[in-house]
Symmetry: C2
Subunit: 252 residues, 2 copies
DNA sequence: GACGTCAATATGTCAGGACAAAGGGTTGAC
DNA sequence: GTCAACCCTTTGTCCTGACATATTGACGTC
């Protein structure tokens, strides 16, 4: 195993060329850590690509690729003729292709799920349209109520084509829908989301402990796999006092 | 001017090497067009990078860069050992660093803006915190009401540090805040958004033609420039029957 | 002293080549 | 007939090298 330790003006970087982790990614990771820890301050300029590449024993394209990762994350900004500088230390993780369950788990909370109904139903027009099926075709319908602590947080209604997964023998109160789909070999690559708001219906209000007509945050999501096949369509409603969507935008 | 016309299995691509537009971008644009027009169908596999590069008279890195642009947009998916295929023909433009004004203008609508109040106010705690200022420091405060057609769509309240722009001599009913900031040399590169919902207050309700307590879609945004300086903080409320946020997520 | 010009600097773009790794299909042994 | 081993295809990673272009600051001229 060849292992280089490089000393730089600011941080110390370690490269492991025997690792399966790509070199550009190793560099990006350590740069990110140095920025997040404040070792490199926002506004500060980092060394130019050529010098960095030379110091680390890398080629310039590889060094550029590493920097590009952080530029895409919105942590660095490049300016031709000037250099590359740190924009902002604490970038929140951008909205990703994860579920509320994942989000809460990552936040260290203990989400609880109550399955209200699972079964096959005939697809209504909008469901059929989103899932690229015919109207009236059978699809899985899954209604769940999500709690955080003891408080009801969201009602979630998902529709899934029958040939994507089998929901019969699954304990969806424990695994989470997305986790189950992933372990079933369904790889979701692209999703379209629509975030809006509306007043709570009577049934939703009862489930969420709100009054009828109370404002709810809504999200509709259609997820597609590698082949462009629609594999999931969900309509969710969140209590706005407990949940909001955060995202970081980067202009490129 | 050298101009090559290349014939391919599917589409015909044109490269202009004398153009200031980068080659990889020219290729990406034409690929995108071919996909959006349906010339290349979703699910279809495109030629491998090496063949494409050869056909177009480009190097493989340049060809890869072109494909990468569309992968980042979520239109193409790469699989090692397999190939690159079209995921989804109609990707909506992802949420970008633009304003509602830009969005509506692009959609061909005629947005109208009514400035409710402009002036300097002492920053409250949350405003000061978001803009990295001291509590009580003077900031620009701008309240506007946005119409689409004759219908009120959103109330927008923006706060801007005094040293970023001068709002006194500006006709904000015509230009739009973001457009004015751009022409003032303010380049916004990163923004953090938080999307939620709540009930309308009495004043908002009156402005938007809704009842008090009616559900509103809310968005808070803090925008930063190249140097990581906070240049704008906005609190907006939208009528949910007229507006929603759409975004496309790509898992990478 | 003001202004235009030029050089230094740094990123942007592009070429061409090499090997590694993953996925899928084929072939072969049992 | 089944399953493992092998090979082919294609993308992933990395290298060296070169020129273009935007920005800044220094220098020189007027």
């Amino acid at each position: 195993m060849s292992r280089y330790i490089v000393r730089m003006p600011g941080p110390r970087f370690t490269l492991d060329r025997s690792s399966p982790v790509p070199l550009y990614f190793q560099v990006a990771e350590q740069f990110e850590h140095a920025i997040l820890s404040g070792e490199i301050a926002p506004g500060e300029r980092i060394d130019n690509e050529i010098a960095l590449a030379k110091d680390l024993g890398l080629s310039r394209p590889t060094m550029r690729q590493a920097i590009q990762v952080l530029v895409d994350k919105g942590m660095l900004v490049r300016k031709r003729g000037v250099g590359t500088q740190v924009v902002h230390g604490k970038i929140r993780r951008s909205v990703e292709l994860t579920s509320l369950f994942d989000d809460l788990s990552a936040a260290g909370q203990k989400p609880r799920t109550e399955v209200l109904a699972v079964g096959k139903v005939a697809a209504e027009e909008d469901v059929a349209h989103e899932l690229q099926l015919g109207i009236g075709d059978d699809v899985w319908s899954l209604e769940r109520l999500r709690f955080v602590g003891k408080q009801p947080l969201a009602v979630m209604h998902n529709f899934i084509p029958l040939d994507v997964v089998d929901l019969d023998a699954v304990d969806l109160e424990k695994t989470g829908l997305y986790a189950h789909m992933r372990t079933s070999g369904i790889l979701m690559r692209v999703a379209r989301q629509r975030i809006g708001a509306r007043g709570a219906g009577a049934d939703e209000a009862a489930l969420l402990g709100e009054k009828k007509g109370a404002p709810l945050l809504t999200m509709q999501r259609t997820a597609y796999d590698n082949a462009g096949r629609a594999v999931e369509y969900g309509r969710h409603a969140y209590r706005p006092d407990l949940y909001a969507f955060e995202l970081t935008l980067v202009d490129r």
